[in-house]
């Protein structure tokens, strides 16, 4: 297979180029470094962790309050109105689900392309995906007028004799998101199994040994296990790869199937996917930069990793900016009155600030990433990542709120103003996300131990006898069976 020869060369090249693992690492040092974070006794947990977790937990309480109030009183606690019937709820939904996409891209697509630099960030990014999807998945349910009937969107045999209405993109969403959540969870869990076994073998605490023993599903590390693991992993990567494209395409169709001007440009699917990856990498960087600093993981998540992520961010960011330009251009080119009015309102209307802020945060702020010196400057990257996260939120604001507030009949035009409950729910989901994330980095190996060890072996010996990347061996095995 074509895959088998190329990565070999690439592995050879890596030695001459900057390696994806810091100097002086051995198989044991990798194991100890990563497992130590988990095996630290509870009382020795770093104070910073408690501080971070505490803040996140407080925000989680805000989330509980916001949701309780919402369920008791109804979606009218938000600022939504007619015509702007979707606002922060759907903005946050799209924002969160977009953030998840970097995880899937790193774990699946970079695996298929045998990119070694995914190894130290994939576990972390996948966890981020899961938590982001968990936050995202709440919004379509909570934004319903009667959220207790959300299951009517799921096809199940019932006495009404009713199916969901399959022409609606919201029904497609149900499938897109549930599939995405399920595949992401499986991918993450299967990748964890060999590491669970490592944890089981490393720990001296009998309780942890028991727990990790169960979680590792009887993994003994035999050749047969590895063989099956690799096949399962590559199959899941194969399943996940189309999901990177499909999930956000379908979410873009939530808008694109409508008649609302500003919602129906045909560029939406690719533009949304690029935006998702863009936002996702920004979030990965936003999380990775402090964590590698506090836990001293500079040897695993090197500047080269960060550089690569910045490059992807720049590339996808430019696609997104292209999307903005095309939206404006096509509206002008079409000459359709409502489209022209939309552009007029987007650029100069009541919510125009959001549009210009968007151009600044997503368009201008990423331009310094062209320079290598910026891509290696952590504070600069951190600020740019924050800017992108804000920008991508604003992008959805511009698309959803601006378009709805001024559509066809001027008699119905109305602005949208958020209420404190809009803000509380959004901040609350941030709390949920970071609570889960802090628990994750404390209780599970946040970097893939065995993949890092493979990488170390490969880098140290310059050979790829042991693995040459999980991917192509499994591909060969699959090939042999035919």
């Amino acid at each position: 297979m074509a895959l088998s020869s190329e990565p070999l060369n690439r592995a050879g090249n890596i030695e001459r180029k900057e390696p994806y693992i810091g100097p002086g690492e051995t198989l044991d040092s990798i194991n100890n470094k990563i497992t130590d974070i988990v095996f630290t006794a509870p009382r020795d947990t770093p104070r910073g962790w408690f501080l971070g977790f505490g803040i996140a937990f407080l925000l989680l309480m805000v989330f509980l309050y916001a949701v309780t109030d919402l369920l008791i009183r109804g979606v009218g606690v938000w600022g939504i109105n007619i015509p702007v019937a979707w606002a922060w709820d759907i903005i946050n939904f799209v924002w969160w689900i977009g953030i998840g996409h970097a995880g899937t891209l790193i774990s699946a697509i970079l695996l298929l392309f045998a990119q070694d630099w995914r190894n130290s960030i994939n576990r972390f990014a996948e966890a981020m995906t899961l938590f982001a999807v968990a936050c995202a998945g709440l919004f379509p349910i909570l934004h319903l007028g009667r959220p207790w009937f959300f299951y009517w969107l799921i096809p199940y045999p019932n006495t009404f004799g009713m199916w969901p209405q399959f022409r609606s993109a919201l029904t497609w969403d149900v499938f897109a998101i549930s599939t995405y959540a399920l595949i992401s969870l499986l991918f993450w869990l299967i990748g964890l199994v060999p590491d669970f076994a490592k944890m089981r073998d490393t720990t001296k605490n009998s309780m942890l040994k028991f727990i990790f023993g169960i979680a590792s599903l009887g993994w003994r590390g035999s050749a047969k296990h590895w063989n099956r693991y690799e096949i399962a992993y590559i199959l899941l990567a194969g399943l996940s790869t189309p999901l990177v494209v499909s999930v956000h395409s379908i979410i873009s169709l939530d808008f694109a199937i409508s008649v609302v001007p500003g919602w129906n440009p045909t560029i939406f699917p690719p533009y949304f996917v690029a935006g998702a990856v863009f936002a996702g990498f920004a979030m990965v960087l936003l999380l990775v930069i402090p964590i590698r600093h506090f836990y001293g993981l500079q040897n695993y998540i090197t500047m080269k990793h960060i550089d690569n992520m910045c490059k992807i961010m720049l590339a996808t960011g430019l696609v997104v900016v292209y999307g903005y330009i095309v939206e404006l251009y096509i509206a002008l080119y079409s000459g359709v009155e409502v489209e022209l009015a939309l552009i007029q309102n987007r650029v100069f209307g009541i919510h125009a600030t959001s549009f210009w802020a968007l151009i600044f945060f997503n368009g201008l702020a990423i331009q310094p990433l062209w320079f290598k010196s910026v891509r290696r400057n952590l504070p600069a990257i951190f600020i740019i990542s924050i800017s992108i996260s804000i920008g991508m939120w604003l992008e959805r604001f511009v698309i959803i709120v601006n378009s709805l507030s001024t559509d066809y009949l001027p008699s119905s035009w109305a602005p949208f103003y958020p209420t404190i409950y809009d803000v509380a729910l959004y901040v609350g989901t941030l709390g949920l996300f970071f609570t889960l994330l802090f628990l994750f980095i404390r209780t599970l190996p946040m970097i893939n131990i065995f993949e890092m060890q493979m990488l170390q072996h490969k880098t140290a010996t310059g050979s790829s006898v042991v693995d040459s990347g999980v991917g192509e061996q499994a591909m060969e095995k699959l090939g042999d069976r035919h």
Partner: protein
């Protein structure tokens, strides 16, 4: 339905009739200021002419019951559908409140129960309501039904008397209340009904017809006298009695006002 913009004087009687006929909740000042009034039927106003001396054009606007309704396409639970008579109906019990139908409605005539607007607990309010119309709960979308309960009532009556429905027999609440007979309702399949004849007039037009949603409510455009000496749509002080005639309604653009009816 046909609405004759030459006859409409913008008196709002239809709005009130609709409100009392269809148990439409009154949401109060604060909710209205947030853009959440529940009127199924509203009178859109557009202004033309000089800023100092504007002319107002009126257009009663309710659900136009599109033949190819954009709202139906996007509802994930099939809560808004066409019935066998071609009405675009809301199934309140099925509605989960995604609100997508409202977003996708080019006429923005759908109304949503953002909060529990209908007080169905206070005993004295129970006598206030029309027993033939469902009281909608929180989280449900609603809109003009073409007074479905009146259509059914007349149909039942005809069935009891074992006869066909007569032309123009169904009278909607807004139509009944209109002092100038600007609103005309009927069966577009019955050639004898008034709507069919009105829809054949050259003045007949569909609002946003270019979207190909085929609205069943159409309008008869206002007719203006082109003689500048007789032109009565610009440059005169607007007064209720004087202002008849006017301007072709469709592109009677100008500044839109914000939902303050």
């Amino acid at each position: 339905m046909v609405i004759d913009l030459n006859s409409c004087v913008g008196c709002n009687a239809c709005v009130v009739a609709c409100q009392s006929e269809n148990n439409i909740p009154i949401v109060g000042k604060q909710q209205v200021s947030m853009g959440r009034e529940m009127h199924w039927l509203r009178i859109d106003r557009y202004y033309g002419g000089d800023l100092d001396d504007p002319v107002m054009y009126r257009q009663p606007m309710a659900c136009v019951h599109c033949e190819k309704a954009p709202c139906e396409l996007v509802c994930p639970v099939a809560a808004t559908v066409h019935d066998h008579e071609g009405l675009n109906v809301m199934v309140y019990n099925r509605c989960v409140g995604t609100k997508y139908c409202s977003n996708n409605c080019p006429y923005k005539v759908r109304r949503f129960n953002f909060l529990w607007y209908s007080d169905d607990v206070t005993p004295s309010y129970k006598l206030l309501r029309n027993p033939d119309v469902t009281v909608r709960s929180r989280g449900v979308m609603e809109k003009c039904t073409y007074c479905l309960q009146r259509i059914k009532d007349v149909q039942h009556q005809a069935a009891v008397e074992q006869r066909e429905l007569e032309a123009n027999e169904v009278v909607t609440a807004c139509q009944q209340a209109c002092p100038t007979n600007a609103i005309i309702f009927g069966d577009i399949n019955n050639p004898e009904s008034d709507v069919v004849q009105l829809k054949e007039l050259p003045l007949n037009y569909a609002v946003l017809g270019e979207l190909n949603v085929f609205p069943r409510t159409t309008y008869l455009a206002q007719v203006i006298n082109p003689n500048p000496a007789l032109r009565n749509d610009v440059g005169i002080e607007y007064s209720f009695e004087e202002h008849h005639g006017g301007h072709g309604g469709e592109e009677s653009g100008g500044e839109g006002d914000n939902h303050s009816e």
